[in-house]
Amino acid sequence: MRDKRMSLDDVVGELRSGMTIGIGGWGSRRKPMALVRAILRSDITDLTVVGYGGPDLGLLCSAGKVRKAYYGFVSLDSPPFYDPWFSKARTEGTLVAREMDEGMLKCGLEAAAARLPFLPIRAGLGSAVFDFWDGELRTVTSPYPGPDGAAETLTAMPALNLDAALVHLNLGDKHGNAAYQGVDPYMDDLFCLAAQRRYLSVERVVDTEELVKSVPPQSLIINRMMVDGVVEAPNGAHFTLAGDDYARDEKFQRHYVESAKTPEAWQQFVEKYLAVSEDEYQAAVREFAAQQESAR
């Protein structure tokens, strides 16, 4: 069986400007942040991003890499909740927003996973979601009328077909079998099923035998058919939470938000945390935590 292990930069080497990229996780929860940081180090740009947005989308916006975004929400999940870089991109009108109900995003990924052009869903009807889509979103009328003879007209959620998916899980093998450890799988399997190229980062790469012994079968949400590349990236979801492995780094997330407030502060943040390798990022984050601790 193929050994799919890659480096973060190998993955980014397979991505191209202009791609539609789905990013797993949810808000500030188990986001493939190391892969996002690797994109920031590259010259890849003009991306269409699909996901339940958090600081992943924020960081990509900070570097002007997002042309269009399909999202159900964007949230940091803790105060101040609203991502500063996404907010800036929106208020400056620099990205095209395809905002939708959270359930519509799941529905669109399921349509893509099943190679269907659309799936009907009730959500979206009557709301401003249609205003956000500039004619890209249509309705569909049921061929089966109800008992009173009237047929339902529903939102025809189009398939959210992805050129690439980026997800981060807790545990995986070198072939692309992988599991989440914690309370929620989020939609990471759907992102992989909806994509042409699928890249998985994990906290730890282990033997297949150890993987299946470590988790209940129901947690093995990713199989080999769903993955093209596996990256070992310990702490790779930082500063978002990662199930049983670690909680959100709330202090660092607040530092991210504060740093976005002035160009000078952001330049310092970029130099220390973003214009560096992943190893240097992790070292700088440990230093930040130690400073926070000693300042108490």
Binding site: F73, Y82, T153
Partner: protein
């Protein structure tokens, strides 16, 4: 501590009004989205609505009813993707907040200004479109002002009664149940499903509500007074569910 009726706070009135949102709800998932509405839902579960399902806000159903911020034994699993199944099933009553709400119940929590270049970005529409078209939805507004109760919302996240197409049965599950604010309790049983006052909290005048609302509210002059908590409700609020008075972070005493 003995609870007395003489020193009942506005926050305690609000907690009971939030609990009454769930009166008669039965065996459904209650999804409160703020501390006050969480207090209300838990109070309902401990009094008249024992069959409600309450989650920890992340992925587990509570078997018992813990205090705000507390832990409890669990009875089931409700990760985010399963919440969407519950939404589509209709067996849920959500209480959302709102940055704006209009007389027909259109709600905005997405952004202010035009969709493609807002003046202020909030969350995006989140689950509001799916919630409002699938199952009972109520709103909790901790500060009732003209900036919230507007003539027209900027972005329709939660859909109001004037968005319902009566010829399309896909809209048949839409139901906005209550709006509870720091000033009173409201529903959409005014003419053409417009906002109507059910009761004003003790000490709140019709003028005060009118001055803080951009449009006319039906039944405002006739609205009675919101009921005060029973001794048992006060005990549960003060001693069991919210001994740290987190409720006062939303509605000051």
């Amino acid at each position: 501590m003995t609870a007395t009726a003489t020193d009942i706070t506005r926050a305690e009135i609000c907690a009971v009004a939030c609990a009454e949102i769930f009166s008669g709800a039965g065996e459904i998932m209650a999804s409160p989205m703020s501390p006050m509405t969480t207090l209300g839902a838990r109070l309902a579960k401990l009094t008249t609505e024992p069959d409600l399902l309450l989650s920890d806000g992340e992925a587990l159903f509570f078997a018992d009813t813990p205090p705000i911020g507390g832990k409890a034994p669990t009875e089931g699993w409700i990760p985010f993707r399963k919440v969407f199944d519950v939404v589509a099933s209709g067996r849920r009553h959500v209480v959302m907040g709102a940055n704006q709400i209009d007389r027909y119940g259109n709600q905005n929590l997405s952004a202010f200004g035009p969709p493609q270049q807002p003046t202020r970005q909030m969350f995006g529409v989140r689950g509001a479109p799916g919630n409002t078209i699938n199952h009972p939805t109520s709103y909790w507004i901790s500060r009732h002002t003209k900036r919230v109760f507007v003539n027209e919302v900027d972005i329709v996240s939660g859909i109001g009664y004037d968005k319902v197409d009566p010829a399309n049965p896909a809209f048949r599950f839409h139901h906005l149940h209550r709006v509870v604010t720091n000033l009173g309790v409201f529903d959409f049983e005014g003419p053409d499903h417009t906002l109507r006052a059910r009761s004003l909290h003790p000490g709140v005048s019709a003028d005060e509500v009118a001055e803080n609302t951009s449009f006319d509210i039906a039944g405002l002059a006739e609205a009675g007074q919101t009921r005060t908590p029973t001794a048992e409700e006060l005990r549960l609020i003060r001693e069991v569910l919210d001994p740290k008075k987190i409720r006062e972070s939303e509605v000051p005493a």
